[in-house]
Amino acid sequence: MEVTVDIYRYDQETGAARFDRFVKEVDPKDRVLDVMMDIKDYDDGTIAFRKSCGHGVCGSDAMQINGINRLACQTLIQDLKSRSIRIEPLKGMKVLRDLIVDMDPFFTGLERIKPYFIPKESAPVTERRQSIAERALFDDTTKCIMCGACTSSCPSFWTNDAYVGPAAFVKAHRFIMDSRDGGNDQRLEALDDKDGLWRCHSIFNCTDACPRDIQITKAIGELKRYTVVHR
């Protein structure tokens, strides 16, 4: 099967952006990342993009493929249902080169919600017990690989990169809903802020983009209710 691949190119020194076109013979079961590696190896070695594990775990190769943020390593050519593939960098963040963006605003938002365990009390002699029901409350949001597909799919983030963003909300949800965690007051400060939860307009782009199928907008809704009740 022959596909046309258009890849976004950007050179920071000249500030010139363009699309480079490659026509490739591919197997429908190839992943987009396979095709990109093929292009980089045999057609144009100067194309820059991030990839690490190549198996949907590290979250390095999130990019905009045919208008939707996805992982190149998880997207099969046949699932695109199109013979033309358009690959662009994640939206809303500064492009450094080609498909590589500056992820700083993403991580700044993440740091604001303190994405780590803050114990309620000093460590017990035995383990911290938790019931199955308590664990189930935040099971969905433990799956995040921090690829940035959600945050950079959000129109609220496109217009304001100080917005904490869906990925950080997912992490906040993971700890706030954890019965063992005691840092909720500190996290709510970042959530209940002008750049916090209330900029979410339930657009659902994040939920559609998430490569781990996390129900992000639903988690944000739970955080909104939690914030209203507890603050």
């Binding site: 208008g67 339930s202 657009i203 907008t217 639903k218 809704g221």
Partner: protein
């Protein structure tokens, strides 16, 4: 260009209709104030409202209010219940169907009515 799916389409329409309705309200208050200036001014405004421009505007206003209202209910349901969050796409389409159907019926009635 990011692909516009149901959620984003609804959000864009919600913004556009919301701003339009606010714009209408400001215009409406101004129109009312013109009407209060006497019988001649009152008749002039009523005559202006009978022109095709305003009649089309009134039908579009109906559509804007219907969509904004129904979509607002969907958003409020989502804010309060996980049930609605899990069925976002279905509810978005229900909003399109309900608002669209009432817009067609109501718009037809309004358009047929004597100006």
């Amino acid at each position: 260009m990011y692909k516009i799916k149901e959620g984003m389409l609804s959000w864009i329409l919600h913004r556009v209709t919301g701003v339009s309705i606010v714009g209408f309200l400001i215009f409406h208050i101004w129109g009312m104030s013109q009407m209060s200036k006497g019988p001649d001014a009152f008749n002039a405004v009523v005559e202006a409202y009978k022109t095709p421009l305003f009649r089309v505007g009134e039908v579009l206003l109906l559509g804007a209010i219907l969509f904004h209202g129904f979509n607002g209910i969907r958003l409020i349901l989502g804010e309060f219940t996980a049930w609605a969050m899990e069925r976002n796409k279905l509810l978005a389409y229900l909003v399109y169907i309900f608002a669209g159907a009432l817009f067609l019926i109501g718009g037809l009635i309004m358009w047929r009515a004597e100006g």
